[in-house]
Amino acid sequence: MNEVNEQIAIDHGLKKDEYKKICDLLKRTPNITELGVFSAMWNEHCSYKSSRRHLKKLHTKGDQVIQGPGENAGVVDIEDDDAIVFKIESHNHPSFIEPYQGAATGVGGIMRDVFTMGARPIANLNSIHFGSIDHEKTRNLLRGVVKGIGGYGNCIGVPTIAGQTCFDESYNGNILVNAMTLGLVNKNKIFYSKAAGVDKPVIYVGSKTGRDGIHGASMASAIFDDKIEEKKPTVQVGDPFTEKLLLEACLELMAGKSIISIQDMGAAGLTSSSIEMASKGDLGIEIDLTKVPCREENMTPYEIMLSESQERMLIVLEAGKEDEAKKIFDKWNLDFAVIGKTTNSKNIELFFENKKVADIPIDFLAENAPMYDRKWIKVKLPKENNFSKDDFKSLKLSDCLNKILTDPNIADKEWIWSQYDHTVMGDTIQKPGGNAGVVRVHGTNKAVAAAVDSSATYCNAHPLTGGKQVVCESWRNMISVGAKPIAITNCLNFGNPEKEKNMGEFVECVEGITEASKYLNYPVVSGNVSFYNETKDKGIKPTPSIGGIGLLSDYKQMITMELKNDGNYLLIIGKTEGHLDQSIFAKNILSNHNGPPPEINLFNEKQNGISILNLKNKNLIETCHDISLGGILTAISKMSIKGNKGVKIFPIEGLVNKFEYFFGEDQGRYIIEIKPENLENVEKILKKDSIHFDKLGIIESDKITYGNELKISIGDIKEGYKKWLNEYMVN
């Protein structure tokens, strides 16, 4: 067996002082298997050593929360006995190296996190970020990631109902693939990872263990260099068919009463799953690695412990229930092996071919894992641009609109989502391409809305505001489909935490997220952190992805965004001041990348959202869409294109420059469609509630018009908006 020394520890991603701490704790030099276990548990991905102290600040409580962060996924109450289990997770590093398998196993991993808790997955979502559209790798990465997400989700038969795609050069060397899953569970039948009781059998089920993915978690905690392609063998290979069987078998076993605790083998495989179960139960665990089903010959204890082969679960069963459980896994043709038992030693003890190959107190791996208070710097709010009349002099509204609608971050993404099965399970009532995806809670009148958002541009300009903004945007997406926002999951994608600037971005984004989620009672119940998204010293823009969910108690009251009927009025809820800094317009038309992001006013945000839900409950709203990237005119265009209806825009009141008015990205705003006979009533209610609103226009013809300054047919804008991505992908 290899002799362990400091250099080997460093090769495992450990720092010198971390290695010294291991030797001090053990009072000896670890053997290679033990070193492997330490390196897996102490890397950033598993230990959260740079982020933990800041994550503690997140707002995680609320009456609706059944389980907050710390379990396989978060759980929230959706009334009656139903609960939603959900989480978002990153699979960034593997997806850059091998886009298909990286993305596919990202989807597989997050679905396992959800069904581990006893929930049947009912919807998948994703947030994917790629480099510049001119970068040589972008097309292939996008194609591979989309195929991977589809390949896995489509096969399992869980609809992919919403998502988000961004392009920005800061992702040239580090794409982001964040996958999210929602599952439905009876709130009295949730399964947790905490083991309990001594001498309980520890069961391995699912696929066999191979050499794939060894050190995956360590890779996810490292920055990339030129030799990144050499890491291909550490990317796991997905087998959605086996996962489907595993899902059905686990749910069948869960219908009985034999499971004490269950945990999927995700990052750091058997190592982290066994240690987490024992650690949470304050127990020891003994595993005979000879009994682990292996698909390759001569695997060493080190390899078995660190493999990240997919589609595997670890279960602690009630003693004596082994045969009953095995029958189920036999039916589904899955491996089932009793590989160990819980003990009262509080150590993890590993045996191989009748020899003890590792013996480590579990405290050393979990509670004594390093925790850092990394240095960070605050980002000042940038100075505002003062655009002058001259900046807009030669501009025409229609040219600007056409350019914005074909911006990669605005243009239609049907090329992507038409490759995902979004209708299987027969409950998808709002498909991708709207404000949020919506699925019915099978067999009930309820429905759950879900969306993923990120806004790296704002976060990059001012992380604190950006953090707040993403949460608000998610909240708005729920409101826009008529759902009451319930809770969020966050995937925090950042650069190298050892750099003060990157760490500062992280700390302040988390602060912003916390502030907004607390104010809106929109708590964070699960998530993960992905640091070291950096290649050759270039980090990504700070990119927290927020996955939000909301509840519709009557799915028939769902709102959609396409314009409905000629003669109906459009109102803007929320105040328009014309904030152009950091907007799509500033970037695309004015080539200006400076200035602060739009300000967030949480009071208005909440009031505006609640007022829309009130109007919905009174059946006064026909259509709703939140105003986000690209401002009012972009929002109207999307609503027009989807509904195939034109809009006559009324003259703007006040002195706002029309470009600022139409393309400014002020926050907390929505466009709603109101029937003429309801207009007076709606205005009365809004005035009474002190909600700022403007009359925007009336639905008519097949053109968007604004006096003599804009006359553009829906057919024309549709062409560019719908075709951009298709054409980009075939070129």
Binding site: K147, N154, F241, K244, W417, S418, Q419, V424, G426
Partner: protein, 226 residues
């Protein structure tokens, strides 16, 4: 009326089909692939999904599964057998239906609403449907129907083309062909018209809140004719 949905490992539209059949009045039962007998039924359905993972040719392993012998016997004795999506692929693998389903022409999985034109109403599946064009939903990677010229001639001569991809007016030309299928074929019968395989999923279109309701017309008609 009794129906049976066969569940293969990897089937994933089995529940959706069960929901749809029951909604329109069938007394439905689910039968596991490893069983050898099928309880008395008026209709057997092979649902969509990825049977056995479809890592080999789609439907090929399911075509050799234990239950399939009973399905073949049932079909050969005139029983109604409906295969949707993966079920269609399985029916071609068993030889109950001619031809094969290749990967889609543009090599992508496609999930969207399509229109199909009913080409033959002299059968229990489409007999009393008043519309000529139905809006249905497809979700597949291998739906590109292909067969030899001789087979095609025989299929056409025998009126075995059930539905073809078309636009909302019923024009079934190449512009309205989502996956490259020969002659826009979306579904075919056997010679006796008791077996139907088709790529579109009627079970996903049975409610105004879903992608549409033309699937309801299909099931309403079916139970009326069984």
């Amino acid at each position: 009326m009794k129906s049976t949905v066969i569940i293969f490992p990897g089937s994933n539209c089995d529940r959706d089909m069960d929901v749809a059949l029951k909604k329109f009045g069938f007394e439905n039962q689910m039968v596991w692939h490893n069983d050898s007998d099928i309880p008395k039924s008026d209709l057997i359905v092979l649902p969509g999904g990825f049977s056995y993972g479809d890592y080999l040719r789609c439907g090929s392993i399911a075509g050799k599964s234990r239950i399939i012998k009973s399905v073949v016997n049932f079909a050969n004795s005139g029983g109604l057998v409906l295969g949707i999506c993966n079920g269609f692929q399985i029916l071609t693998e068993t030889g109950l239906l001619p031809g094969i389903l290749q990967q889609n022409k543009y090599l992508n999985f496609i999930c969207k609403n399509v229109f199909v034109k009913i080409k033959n109403k002299e059968n229990k599946y489409f007999k009393n449907i008043k519309k000529e064009v139905l809006e249905l939903h497809i979700a597949h990677n291998e739906g590109n129907y292909f067969c030899s010229n001789d087979e095609l001639k025989s299929i056409e001569d025998n009126g075995q083309i059930a539905v073809t991809y078309c636009d909302d007016k019923g024009n079934d030309n190449e512009h309205n062909n989502p996956n490259g299928a020969i002659k826009n074929i979306a579904g075919i019968f056997n010679k006796d018209k008791n077996i139907l395989g088709m790529m579109p999923h009627p079970e996903r279109m049975i409610d105004p809140f879903l992608s549409g309701e033309d699937g309801s017309l299909f099931f309403e008609n079916l139970i009326g004719n069984v």
